[in-house]
């Protein structure tokens, strides 16, 4: 889809001929994220007026009893800017709020902001570098202090200080944040930034109270008692916390949203395993809500049959995919295996890659292994099957694979394995130890054998495979095998960081201790140019077209073969009415949760 067509679509939305929702769904189908699509509309001056409010059934504060949540991995601290994973982010979001959060449609919903900045309200300057946030008035911290612009300015300084060692440092370190008045802040990016809403929104944007954190900025950050005793602005305030086990909170009587929260208290239990967490919600009803139920779909369906709880699959952007190594993992060049100077003997032939893509029975694997937890896809960026991109498609066809290989001169030898010259189609296929992955490996191997390709299956313990130990030869970062399979996650609504992983600059190699992210070592000049253009392109429509192009380039080359979108299952008690989002933390809108009588 080209820039022109995108513009026409946006024009249709403006005129009211195309519902906002359909537009966003189409963009998602093209491999964009919903928040990005919504930002395109905002930029074009299509206001968020059509954004429906989050439904809330409560009529008064409190009276709802205790809300019991179970996370099968417990949070170990409660500082949002130390939180690398969702478990800590979710737990801290109970107490802390961001200026805005992302709903499932990708709309930015104001939380601590009075309104979302836009061209129309003067929040977004014409230079594409300056964003002015108006803050909500009358908000108090749990200890009674007022929430002001100083807190926002401080949060950026705290998180952006490398000595504090936050995980959000990259977002804030080059940012200039100024206080305009007591309830207005101006955010200035070092250069024109198309995706201006990264700071202060969502899971990376939780605002900290200056008066509590100021004495502990920098190297002393670890000693702050507030790392385990949070003081926030959220719907629930802190009661007690045992790291890795139990978090207790009670309703905040001075919460800034009227009639919220519905529940009197909240408990978040951590630890155990996913299956018994699913049982506690779906079978015994001891808990109201469970996070990330990574359990085989067949079992979940059985538990759900009891009728006590339901499952919801949030379509985020986790993608399970196969990489075909671009470099030669078996022979050293300049003392390095998988050197970027080498070429993979077989995969440098596009015919072999195309054949490999045809030999993966995505539909079969989805039906028999992943169920609702893995939806076959042909796009690298998230793609629900209803809105499949017209540019790419997937197919399972052994005959066609055979034909392609035959035509390219790969002839079957006496042992049934195809070869050309002295290169044989014999590959090592590695992944982490996990039942569905080993089953998938076996299915791929079976199809490959029929096409004259021999696969040797290898599975590495997850701790080693995903560990970043530079001395271990079996990590996914080194990728010292021909083929590997794993899931990659896009937690941020903007795809820029995500798509960076296929740029030439990001190729993982010895020189950078394999710490960068282009593990397949794919390099494409057109892709690099498109990425560079997208980085500096602040017209969101042009930018979107660039990302779509990048997606098509990666997928079209077949070094990277997307398999499944992996929606994350959450379980909840039948009577609970949660407010969830695929683009933000599970607890992002906890104030809106209610329970039917």
């Amino acid at each position: 889809m080209q820039e022109r067509e995108l513009r026409d679509l946006i024009e249709d939305v403006r005129r009211g001929e195309l519902p906002r929702r359909s537009f966003i769904q189409r963009m998602v189908g093209l491999g964009l994220t919903a928040p990005m699509a919504s930002m395109m509309l905002m930029h074009a001056g299509v206001a968020q007026a059509q954004v429906p409010p989050i439904p809330y059934k409560g009529t008064k504060r409190g009276g709802g009893g205790v809300l019991k949540l179970i996370w099968w991995q417990g949070a170990v601290h409660l500082n949002p800017h130390f939180a690398g994973g969702t478990k800590e982010q979710d737990a801290t979001r109970v107490f802390y709020e961001s200026l805005g959060g992302w709903d499932s449609e990708g709309n930015l919903i104001p939380m601590l902001a009075a309104e979302i900045p836009s061209r129309a309200n003067g929040g977004l300057a014409a230079d594409n570098r300056t964003v002015t946030w108006k803050l909500k008035r009358g908000v108090t911290w749990h200890d009674g202090q007022p929430f002001t612009a100083d807190d926002v300015v401080f949060t950026a300084a705290y998180a952006g200080d490398p000595a504090t060692a936050t995980v959000t440092v990259a977002t804030y370190k080059d940012l200039k944040v100024e206080k305009v008045d007591s309830h207005t802040v101006r955010v200035i990016y070092p250069k024109p930034t198309p995706y201006w809403a990264e700071a202060f929104t969502g899971s990376f944007g939780m605002i900290l109270p200056k008066h509590v954190f100021e004495p502990y900025i920098g190297a002393k950050s670890r000693e702050n008692p507030a790392n385990v005793k949070p003081v926030g602005t959220g719907p629930y305030k802190f009661v007690d916390f045992k790291p890795g086990d139990m978090l207790r909170a009670e309703a905040n009587p001075t919460y800034h949203v009227p009639n919220q929260p519905f529940f009197d208290a909240l408990e978040l239990k951590g630890g155990g395993d996913a299956l018994s967490a699913a049982r506690a919600v779906l079978q015994t009803g001891e808990f109201d809500f469970a996070w990330n139920l990574a359990v085989e779909d067949e079992i979940l369906k059985r538990l759900e049959a009891g009728g006590k709880g339901k499952l919801v699959f949030l379509e985020g952007s986790d993608i399970e995919f196969i990489s075909l190594n671009c470099s030669d993992p078996w022979n050293e060049v300049d003392g390095e295996r998988g050197s970027i100077k080498s070429k993979h003997p077989a995969f440098q032939d596009k015919a072999v890659r195309d054949a490999m893509a045809l030999l993966i029975d995505r539909k079969g694997v989805q039906d028999f292994i992943y169920g609702r937890g893995g939806i076959a896809t042909s796009n690298f960026l998230n793609n629900p099957p209803r809105f499949r991109s017209p540019n790419t498609k997937y197919e399972f066809n052994i005959d066609k694979a055979n034909q392609i290989l035959e035509a390219a001169g790969w002839k079957k030898g006496g042992d049934g394995i195809r070869a050309k010259g002295n290169v044989k189609l014999k590959f090592v296929f590695q992944t982490s130890v996990s039942q569905p992955r080993q089953k998938t490996q076996a299915i791929v191997k079976d199809a490959c054998t029929k096409a004259g390709i021999e696969l040797e299956l290898k599975s590495v313990t997850a701790a080693v495979f995903f560990g970043s130990d530079a001395a271990n030869p079996d990590t996914y970062q080194k990728f010292w095998s021909d083929i590997q399979m794993y899931t990659t996650t896009m937690t941020q609504p903007d795809p820029q960081i995500f798509m960076e992983q296929f740029t030439t600059d990001q190729i993982a190699q010895k020189a950078n201790k394999w710490a960068s992210r282009n593990l397949v070592r794919w390099s494409n000049a057109e892709y690099d140019a498109a990425f560079k253009a997208a980085q500096g392109e602040f017209d969101p429509v042009k930018r979107a077209a660039l990302f779509i192009r990048m997606n098509d380039l990666v997928v079209g080359d077949n070094h990277v073969i997307p398999l499944f979108a992996r929606p994350r299952p959450r379980g909840y008690a039948t009577k609970l009415v949660p407010a969830l989002s695929a683009w933000d933390n599970d607890t992002w809108a906890l104030g809106f949760w209610t329970r039917d009588a």
């Binding site: 601290h77 060692a165 560990g467 970043s468 992983q501």
Partner: protein, 319 residues
């Protein structure tokens, strides 16, 4: 006696040092990285991870890190957890009460079952009672706790719906209700652990009593006309207890170490679950602290067992 204890404690020092060295080296050589989660999160640039590694001293050579750990440990500073950045001693102390309560109760239960059943079975060997008790004992210690635990949950919590299977350390109830809730949530893990332990201890008690009951002095005591109760309690059991004391004493560190699998199944926030979480997250300081405390306790309880021998059997002297 005092000299003996002092000598034993002095011998314990080098062994503790050796243990800590081995533990530290193995952990340092093991694969994994506490910041693995960050490595997998594309929004966190690799520099953040590198900076954290450097800040927490993970890039220093192993001997330097060990030395640093040892000096701090001697000063009473246990270090801090890499993943939560909380002091390790605080984490351990938080988990200790629950572990002692649940595991301690299960050991008490195990003793309360194993001692009388073992003695009775040995006094009348190959009677119906002995046969039934032995059969149950064999079943008991052949079934691993992770199996019985899940079985209990499926039956009592899910099929019957009587008991909760998620343990909570801070019950909201007060007074009698608190005790009742505590009983309901602890009964399954205590039974699972206690009966498993009781099964093997019962066999030990039985065989040890069987050995003693045949000795001449017991026959003498009986021919003196002493009541059977007195013979068994005063003369047989007391002597038969010596090997059992060793077993129980060596088991005591487990009370502090927790029961890793059972704690995980019932979500008991004890030391065992702290340890397994720390291992899964490669949180070296926590693993180090818990395993080291465990090693120290094994040594201490060995000593206590040796001292108890003397009390049970005055013929054993300490030089």
């Amino acid at each position: 006696m005092f000299n003996y204890i002092l000598r034993r404690l002095l011998i314990a020092l080098p062994s503790l040092l050796g243990i800590s060295l081995i533990l530290f080296t193995v952990l340092a050589l093991a694969p994994g990285d506490p910041f693995e989660e960050l490595a997998q999160n594309p929004n966190v640039p690799p520099e953040v991870r590198m900076a954290l590694r450097a800040q927490f001293g993970l890039d220093d050579p192993i001997w330097q890190r060990y030395f640093y750990w040892l000096v701090n440990m001697l000063r009473g500073d246990w270090g801090f957890s890499f993943v939560s950045r909380i002091d390790v001693d605080e984490l351990v102390l938080q988990r200790l009460p629950v572990t002692i309560a649940v595991i301690g109760m299960s050991q008490v239960l195990a003793l309360a079952v194993a001692l009388p059943v073992g003695v009775l079975a040995a006094v009348k060997p190959y009677s119906w009672f002995d046969r039934i008790a032995s059969t149950f004992a064999f079943i008991g210690f052949s079934l691993p706790t992770f199996f019985t635990g899940v079985l209990f949950i499926l039956f009592f919590s899910i099929y019957l719906g009587w008991l909760p299977f998620v343990y909570r350390a801070d019950l909201p109830e007060t007074g009698w209700q608190w005790w009742w809730a505590q009983f309901r949530q602890s009964i399954m893990p205590i039974m699972v652990l206690g009966l498993f332990q009781a099964a093997s201890w019962m066999r030990y008690v039985r065989s040890s009593v069987l050995d003693v009951v045949r000795l001449d002095y017991v026959t003498t005591a009986r021919s003196k006309g002493l009541a059977e109760r007195v013979v068994i309690n005063k003369h047989v059991v007391r002597n038969a207890l010596i090997p059992v004391v060793t077993l129980v004493a060596l088991q005591m560190p487990a009370v502090f170490g927790g029961a890793i699998v059972t704690e995980q199944i019932f979500r008991i926030p004890g030391i065992g679950s702290l340890l397994i979480d720390a291992i899964l997250r490669n949180d070296t300081p926590v693993i180090m602290a818990v395993t080291f405390v465990f090693a120290a306790l094994v040594i201490v309880f060995n000593l206590i067992a040796d001292i108890l021998y003397g009390w049970l059997d005055p013929r054993i002297s300490y030089r």
